[in-house]
Symmetry: C2
Subunit: 527 residues, 2 copies
């Protein structure tokens, strides 16, 4: 019988696809009936229409139970926060994946758990989490935990809405408008004019920029695809972030068309995009933006500045000269969740030309962007992005900015750069250390090798290199096992594994830097 | 002097780009020095290195101040939650954008605000926010506020980490692993095998699926771009989500290569992707997946199921037959933030083939995905996505699943579908209503026109249609001004504006449906 249905079904299905699927056709109804006994019973051992006790609805139960539960969770979180900032606490209670899978029952069940079980799950989750707020956690570009930012994120979760229209996020849409304008002013675009959007991270912001650049040069690409345009090529600095290549792969440009070594005009390829980096991920280096902008202008190429990491230095009078020329860019990625310690995620793409984002990405979904709404439709910003629903990432930045003021962010950034200079000065001539690049760091990145006494004086260069390559991974593994601190390491080109220290946590102090050095030496002395 | 620098700078800059920017060159240092007086002084009226009082660091101040502040915010949030579920409260306190911009000082300042000001800002933000938890808020596919989900999101903010590696998110990476496996089991893939990732929304999940399909058929596209592959064409149902077109535009395929009317083989174009919809955005219709899978199999085309809206029906024994055949798909988008009421955002892309996501998207960033780490590297999942940093979206789904069990989600989904059937039965023969499509809704979408008495008996069909087109926008505007309820409307093809009612809020009751009908009639009777 099922076979007969299928035979009948295929030609009619083609017809249905043609005419649109809905409304029901005879055959669809037939099919539904014939398959009404679900194959999924294995997932549902007990009967339907049962409401578990943990379905808390303040409107139904009165509030006591719900409020008590939420307050208990908050108490757990407050205790975790105090602990996270305490240097006596471990940064991490490390376990290997298979171990951790065994240490708790993480499986999803058919039956509901009690609220007490839920609280236990919350505690277990935090017990094995990394304390990213810990003053000795230096592992990523995003560290620290700002209390106002955290409060703002809690509020965002509670408001639980979506950025696509003013209709459902009136305040947040306005705050995005206000904040993007302020950021454009700081970039230096006249009167803060231009466009922008908050996106889910720097990689997506960079990809959006590349998308805009291509659309600007070849608007027909939107409808006709890459077959309508010449072979494109994008340029970027050697140590630029891998998201530039990811973007090129996704957009159908291909990673081979991302030239990272220099500016070479390849016959038959049209250069459309230059991504200059303001603060590379590993070295924290800044490309010379003014010079790059001259070239972009000469060849009429979109100039993007990937300031995901370094963009925040625009907030500092002492350091913003490193981005001189940024005001000449067509677009800028700037992630406040990195150097400004805004809770994850908060990444902005700023665009100089107004209207382009809308033209590039809009599809006019009529269920969201009705043209006969009763308010100013320019505040329905959802069609500027590839995303449909967009998480509210703005409130935490906005509230922190209110709390600190521009000068508060500046002080925080300056302090982190001062700490990294302190680290640099401390180790540059210290026995057993070698710097990966010469000169003072431009950002808070300090890249260095630690050479344990045992290999410090090895004569065979190759042998020494081979040993040195293993030092950082072992020290890092020990750091995690002891849980005392975390710092990243990596190889780069022909350079063997080195430590990349970064500081973005305003809770860190000079003493924490001292601690890091002592800890590396303690954990590495026997290697 | 600056002119001379520039002249000197350009050729050397080319050289620097070629050799990589870092380490410093003489010229860079020269440039930095010459521009050490920043042009940005306008943004920073007062002196540097000033720490505002609102920089709360539990480790520095002791905890009283921080904890008091956070508790005060929590109290504001708890009060807001109680209010949100109260039917006597307005869903929205609506103001036009320009009005709202005036009603509060939303501007960002140079100077810090006091913590009291911050609390005032929190209250103001919530005052003008949409109460998306309100039992009479029906405006989007994502409504409601689950208390366990909310608690989980607060914990996520507090843990403030990133999904790219096990190293920095051990528990969350494991919970993603556990939950994706469970979702694949429910889809029906053997032993829950396969792959997947949580992404920032259904549009990105759909684009990721398209990216995988293209890579599967033409892996060389990653390096060589679209010029290395034939002209591609994708198929999708007529009422599919606009993200399929957005994806095609972004990936360089072009929107004209998305065929939404049926399955036509176009000379010289290679079909590579079919996106079937399980629960269309407006009508809630389900494509016949079994029939579509037969076609995909025959022509060797990637079958994607966009179940962003309808995927959750897999949790219901009563309704999952509507997705029969989903187990034949190559990839499935499923957004728990819609029908399962998980706080925004929570969207999963599930993929049948293991390893493909990694191959398609990986760029081996050596600062994140070191190959000599001391744990099982398969848990470093970050390279599977286009994103670098990835927000932790898993914990709220996981904790809710624990709290409700599979049967709790089932009960919640069944209830919402029952409410929509109640609405359908109530209005299908009621005077003044016309249904937009025939037959019982397949999902909770009920699409209908309300004809006020004044136009109910108009004889001139065109005149009537013209009037009717204006009815829904006016009623909707009045709903927002009164703040009593919110429901979406839209035109579709040659159909004039109609209401699209959707129910995903488990707090809604039969009485709320009655209220909606009464309210539409009250607000529309004079039109």
């Amino acid at each position: 019988f099922l076979e007969r249905i299928k035979l009948l079904f295929i030609p009619i299905c083609l017809q249905m696809l043609h005419e649109s699927i809905f409304p029901h056709t005879f055959l669809q109804i037939l099919e539904y009936k014939s398959q009404n006994v679900s194959t999924a019973d294995v997932f549902f051992p007990s009967s339907s229409f049962f409401f578990p006790s943990s379905d808390l609805l303040p409107a139904m139960d009165g509030d006591t139970k719900t409020m008590t539960f939420l307050q208990e969770v908050v108490d757990i979180l407050l205790a975790y926060i105090v602990e996270s900032f305490d240097r006596e606490t471990k940064v991490i209670d490390f376990h290997y994946p298979n171990e951790l899978l065994q240490m708790n029952n993480w499986e999803l069940q058919d039956e509901p758990a009690t609220l007490d079980d839920i609280l236990i799950s919350c505690r277990a989750t935090l017990k094995y989490a990394i304390k990213t707020a810990h003053p000795r956690y230096f592992n990523q570009l995003s560290t620290g935990l700002d209390m106002v930012g955290l409060a703002a994120d809690w509020l965002t979760s509670t408001a639980n809405t979506n950025m696509f229209t003013y209709e459902v996020a009136p305040v947040f849409v306005l705050l995005e408008y206000v904040s993007l304008k302020k950021m454009r002013e700081i970039i230096g675009w006249p009167d803060g004019r231009g466009d922008g959007i908050f996106s889910p991270g720097g990689a997506i912001s960079n990809m959006y920029a590349m998308l805009l650049a291509r659309f600007k040069m070849f608007p027909e690409v939107k409808e006709k695809g890459m077959s309508s345009v010449p072979r494109l090529v994008a340029f970027t600095s050697e140590h630029s972030h891998f998201s530039i290549k990811k973007g090129a792969a996704a957009l159908g440009i291909g990673t081979e068309s991302v030239i990272s070594l220099g500016f070479v005009l390849v016959q038959g390829f049209v250069p459309f995009f230059v991504s200059a980096t303001a603060g590379t991920t590993v070295y924290g280096a800044f490309d010379p933006l003014i010079a790059i902008s001259d070239i972009c202008k000469k060849y009429n190429i979109w100039m993007h500045v990937d300031g995901a990491w370094g963009g925040s230095l625009l907030m500092s009078r002492r350091h913003r000269w490193k981005l001189d020329g940024v005001e000449r860019a067509n677009s800028v990625t700037w992630n406040p969740h990195k150097m400004m310690s805004v809770p994850l995620q908060c990444s902005a793409l700023l665009v100089r030309e107004e209207g382009l984002m809308q033209n590039c990405n809009q599809m006019h979904a009529c269920y969201l962007f009705q043209q006969d709404k009763h308010y100013d439709l320019s505040y329905d910003t959802g069609d500027k992005a590839l995303q449909c629903g967009r998480h509210v990432d703005i409130f935490k930045l906005w509230l922190m900015w209110r709390a600190k003021g521009t000068i508060g962010f500046e002080a925080q950034i300056d302090k982190c750069l001062e700490l990294s200079e302190y680290l640099y000065n401390k180790i540059k001539d210290r026995e057993g250390y070698e710097m990966v690049f010469d000169g003072k760091p431009q950002h808070t990145n300090v890249c260095f090798w630690y050479l344990p006494p045992g290999i410090r004086y090895m004569e065979d260069k190759e042998e020494k290199k081979k040993h040195l390559h293993k030092v950082a991974p072992v020290i890092k593994a020990r750091m995690m096992e002891y849980g005392t601190t975390m710092v990243s390491y990596q190889p780069q080109g022909d350079k063997v594994n080195f430590f990349r220290m970064v500081i973005s946590n305003p809770a860190a102090t000079f003493q924490d830097i001292d601690f890091l050095i002592e800890e590396i030496e303690r954990l590495g002395q026997d290697l």
